[in-house]
Symmetry: C2
Subunit: 355 residues, 2 copies
Amino acid sequence: MASGHQLPRIRHEVGLALERFLDRQRAVLGDIGPELRPWLDAIGALLQGGKRLRAAFCYWGWRAADGPDGPQIYAAAAALELLHASALVHDDLIDESDTRRGRPSVHREFAARHAEQGWRGPAAAFGAGAAILIGDILLGWTDELLAASGLEPAALRRGQPALDAMRTELIGGQYLDLLGQAAGDGSVDEALRVITYKTASYTVARPLQLGAALAGRTDAPMAAACRGYGVPLGIAFQLRDDVLGAFGDPARTGKPSGDDLRDGKRTVLVALARERATPAQRRVLDARLGDPGLDETGVAEVRTVLTGTGALAACELMIESNLAESLRALEHAPLPGQANQALAELAVAATERSD
Amino acid sequence: MASGHQLPRIRHEVGLALERFLDRQRAVLGDIGPELRPWLDAIGALLQGGKRLRAAFCYWGWRAADGPDGPQIYAAAAALELLHASALVHDDLIDESDTRRGRPSVHREFAARHAEQGWRGPAAAFGAGAAILIGDILLGWTDELLAASGLEPAALRRGQPALDAMRTELIGGQYLDLLGQAAGDGSVDEALRVITYKTASYTVARPLQLGAALAGRTDAPMAAACRGYGVPLGIAFQLRDDVLGAFGDPARTGKPSGDDLRDGKRTVLVALARERATPAQRRVLDARLGDPGLDETGVAEVRTVLTGTGALAACELMIESNLAESLRALEHAPLPGQANQALAELAVAATERSD
């Protein structure tokens, strides 16, 4: 039953819902002006990729609450992909990331357009402004697509608190991340707290809860089941992402090899290495992490420290134990068998070493 | 009947609705972390000021559609103040404005906090990141407060298209503004097109339409009445704002005298001056506009050109004729007498020379 999670089908349906939504927006933006055409190209490219995990968890939350299969839930789930795209655009700008899914990040793309055209003023500021606004419109479209999903107004009202919480936790978590880079102590606890809000809750627990609430289940046992399964799984998922960001294959991550190291991302993996490092190993981390010019040799040096300190192994253990905790919670969750089975498979798929 | 528009009462009720909402969010953000406390201080300060025009137009749209007075409509109208605050935070960042309503703008405030604390990395980047995220949360809260207004789900569904259009036009208009600064021809037509989307539709026509739709009037004659009155009034309002930005009293505008000139804002007023300028006058505009170090003497020089070219007089004429067009449309609008009277008063209040 390797395909009980139906991820390929969910991805397909969610992709169609996004395409239909963007087609409508093409007309709306076109009425404002042809200058907005490049927005849809950039947004379309951004929405092409992605694992659609948030959408899949929303779908299975709905099914777990006995919601019927149909276009409404795919459109609602697709709205979460707009929220995610918004967060990526703003996050890449804040982190000064150059690439996203194998393409230039949105602020870089619009800065390049400015430079090519020889426009007035600094190209970087133009790119930043465009990325702020494109992230804004994606954030606004989240609500627009959800409202236009075809779900009944009463269903939408039931789902609203989960969406509200998801958005606030995501944005608040992004600030904790920013603040940690400026003023944090680099500890494992701190890194874990950031990912609890910025990723864990927002990737799994809240989308599940949203799906369930839309289908009518806003009760405490269901919310507890979503959290019990979703929070540890979300942590495991982010830890896997951290490992891939340091060791992953560029063909899979869509980012240059070791890009998280070059960006100086304050991941749990790096925090684990810092806690365990000898003075010599710490010097490597201090000198190399966050160096935008870090080359393959430098990346290899950092990897040696991440492995040599035992941080990588410790991180893999944390992934394993969080995944196990998530699956244990699922065993006790009051969910129908099909949903339970799908969620167990999704948990494994979201945290495995390679696609 | 100078107080038929009830603006003081609307401001008071909307202010209370915002306070209640922020109190709830204080608890939500506190659960994420005490580090988020400064957000609410910054947001609270931002929401203190403002004319509440968008809220007032939403309220009168509701009343024009025979909606009953009550806390629901004040909460719904207050949601528009959150949207506006979001736009201000992101706009100030994009325009690199130092102040807003007599205080440091949000990105400057957080940059100053970073510098004071001696945190790592560049203070300006931290301030920019914080402002992006605070603008994001305000944008998300727009939907949250509207949904929590106590209005029926069916009413919210009726209002959704007006909110969707408002948001897209606002953000799209902000991009036209950014693009105009980089690549525009500085013409009056171009400046008018920017304010049509960025301000006019978003300040008057769409809030009115939203209020009317929430109360049940989504019909074409009502939408046409909102546009007929709202679009020219919104243009007149923005033109008044442009004049105040160049000639206004800092005590009223909350910005240093002549700040729009220092920022090089591409207003209709400036475009009118450019079209009429002699080569000598044009040289003054080219040398002075957008000079961040522009002093009182420089501001006075530019003002002399704005007056001497006849641009100021032409702008005042445009305000007058747009206001007249708006009031004419109102005369033919199918609205109850009280709403009609209130909207006529609001139109005058929104465009008059001083408070």
